[in-house]
Amino acid sequence: MDLILFLIFAIIAVVSAVNVVVQTHPISSAVSLIGVMGSLAVLYLLLGAEFIAAAQVIVYAGAVMVLFIFVILLLNAGAETKRGRSFMVQLLGVPLLIALLGLLAFFVERLFPRGVSVRFGGFTGGTAQSVGKALFTTYLLPFEVTSLLILIAILGAIVLARKELD
């Protein structure tokens, strides 16, 4: 059952991720990206990360992607214009990408023996309670610094995107 769920949502995630890259219209890419984030939320649940799964749906698939779609609609972004790529990109782009993926896969295979496997309920330390306890004790300083970061980001966004009044 866990394996079937993993395979279904992993395939959805990979297909949507490919769709993000190959679609020429940004709104299609954005909707595919929501698909990636939703299926990743299910995989987080499978790994026992309840709080992170909820935050993924609310923060990523909700807030961030709505912001993206608003900007796409606001700028009326059309399909990307086709243009010839340089010779080096055509020659080396895909092979280098496959080399990167192969290298990552190689290290994963070497560093992680096949003994460990994931089943639903194998780790129950990802509840809102335990995440909150760690957040407000061990990670209190980073948490407070994060609030400062968000304040600066809000101010920066307002300053950058405001209309010139004079």
């Binding site: 961030v64 993206f68 606001l74 972004a77 994963v108 760690a134 966004a157």
Partner: protein, 102 residues
């Protein structure tokens, strides 16, 4: 067999990260490039949560949480920058935004 090998999760995260790199390098629309960055962050988040499962510790979830918060802040500032760029140059094509090239 109902259990999923832990390396499959990491492999999925590697695939999503590589696709994000591909989008970042091959696409020309600045918004799609920005979405590819989000795709890479999602791939890394999946590996954090997987490590958290493997080590039976909650720390990976906290890292993922901070990545999410920083990504939200980054999206707000980045999209404001995109709006400003579009206002000044009326284009979203990153090949046309080359004033620092010369």
């Amino acid at each position: 067999m109902s259990e999923v090998p832990i390396s499959w999760f990491l492999m999925l995260s590697a695939v999503i990260f590589a696709l994000g790199v591909a989008g970042f390098l091959f696409r020309r629309n600045i918004i799609t490039v920005f979405m590819s960055i989000e795709l890479m962050l999602n791939g890394v988040n999946l590996s954090f949560v997987t490590f958290s499962y493997q080590l039976k510790q909650v720390n990976g979830h906290l890292f993922t949480f901070f990545v999410m918060v920083v990504a939200a802040a980054e999206a707000a500032v980045g999209l404001a920058i995109i709006l400003t760029v579009f206002k000044n140059r009326s284009t979203l094509d990153i090949d046309d935004i080359d004033s620092m090239k010369n």
